[in-house]
Amino acid sequence: MITRMAVVALVIVTLALFQTAVFPYLTISGFRPDLLLLVVMAFALRDGPIVGLRVGFAAGLLADLLLDFSAVGITALVFLGVGYIVGVVRPYLSDESFSAPLVLSGLTGFLGTAGVAILSGLLGEQPFGIGLIVEASVLVALYNVILSPIVVGLVTRLVDRFPAQGLFAAP
């Protein structure tokens, strides 16, 4: 159990590092993928809503602490929502489906990015223009779809190697 938690934490931190130190050099029209959102989706898709909630909260909190103006908790709130929803719809998707992770990557990329931007604007941060929110959300969704096979593949291997047990097992 501790090993699995350490591995999940390592994956989250590593992807956060890639997002802040590597992908700024690999942008599409100035926008980067949201690897943390992608990893939340991947874990929720494999292990269900409880793991989705926990990973979503942890990844969102890390992203919040790496930000300066957005209040801590906003990204965590959005990401845990994404983790829960993906975990809840998981039983209705085929395990062997290749398209399901791609579609979910796009949807969560769009909704997660727009959700953080809108919530930040509502909670006192400088509001963003609707054009900017839509542009960013679409490009992040597109980028997440492209990277989805890599991240989902990595998470699948990790989950197979370190399966969730007891309380964290998929309901």
Binding site: V22, F69, L80
Partner: protein, 313 residues
């Protein structure tokens, strides 16, 4: 069924925790809240790792950027030609300005103003969000960096320092919507404020809504806002000028000189903002003495008529 209920309970608990965190952070002053310690700690811990990772990947990233740039070379070429034309036109006026400047300096007996003291830094990371335009640089309080110091590069204003740790600092880029600076137009001297719009053009608002503006006017920092920004740092040129609206505001777009997608090296200006002047308080304990009365005229020595006490005959 039991698992779903457990998930709902966990959802409620984590939502509650998130809302508590948002409330705590929202009510804390910027940079001084309890959660800001966590931010500083994370910057200190991840900074060196980001530095190493960035150095490793930057050459590869630059190749990708160069490939992407091939597509925009034609447009950039035309922009550069336009810029050369502008600069050629300005050569005459610059020579005139230099002469005038030298005359004024001699006239006032001022010594040549020294250049900025700067610390060169390397960008080690960018912010994790697509809605916050920040960078992390590899210098901190150990190098004399303080909060609110200005960051520039060879092209102009990059941003200002918003968080400092001993070995790293976080810089708010000028294109971030939370960024704002007092500015001046070099051609007319009109003053105003500029703020970021999240990439693309920045938004300029002049103090006088009907100020004389032209496309291509250069915008530089002005030393207002308690002198956070040293005056005269180039920001960009006016690119679009909107119509004055009924509320007397104009949407003026400024194209920054700095390419914010290529911030490998920057310079932190060791310029300290002017401290706020203390508020003037009137001590009520000091007694206020009434002014001296005006001296009264000397009484007339003429005898006054007084009732006689002697009985009349």
């Amino acid at each position: 069924m039991y698992g779903r209920r457990r998930a709902r309970v966990l959802l409620a608990v984590l939502v509650l925790v998130s809302l508590v965190l948002i409330t705590i952070d929202f009510r804390s002053p910027q940079g001084e809240g309890p959660l800001d310690k966590g931010r500083e700690l994370l910057t200190s811990v991840l900074g060196p790792v980001q530095d190493g990772l960035g150095s490793l990947v930057q050459p590869i990233g630059n190749v990708f950027t160069d490939i992407g740039d091939l597509f925009s070379l034609r447009a950039e070429n035309e922009q550069l030609r336009e810029r050369v034309d502008q600069l050629e036109n300005r050569t005459q006026s610059i020579a005139d300005l230099e002469r005038e400047n030298n005359e004024l300096r001699d006239l006032l007996g001022m010594r040549e103003r020294a250049g900025f003291d700067v610390v060169v830094a390397r960008t080690v990371a960018f912010g994790p969000s697509n809605f916050e335009w920040t960078i992390t640089i590899d210098v901190g309080t150990d190098d004399g960096i303080q909060r609110d110091m200005v960051v520039i590069n060879g092209d102009g204003l990059v941003g200002r320092v918003i968080q400092v740790t001993p070995g790293a600092a976080r810089v708010l880029l000028a294109i971030d919507p939370n960024f704002s600076a007092a500015v001046r137009l070099t051609r007319t001297g009109a003053v105003g404020a500029i703020d970021g719009r999240g990439g693309g053009l920045m938004r300029l608002e002049t103090l006088n809504p009907e100020a004389d503006l032209e496309r291509g006017d250069e915008v530089v920092t002005a030393a207002y806002s308690n002198g956070v920004f040293p005056p005269g740092i180039s920001i960009g040129t006016i690119d679009t000028i909107g119509e004055t609206t009924s509320v007397l505001t104009r949407e003026v777009g400024v194209r920054p000189f700095v390419d914010f997608s290529r911030l490998d090296h920057v310079m932190v200006v060791l310029h300290r903002p002017i401290a706020d002047l203390p508020e003037i308080t009137i001590d009520p304990g000091i007694p206020i003495e009434p002014p001296d009365p005006l001296p009264s005229p000397t009484p007339d020595p003429s005898p006054s008529v007084s009732p006689s006490t002697e009985p009349s005959p």
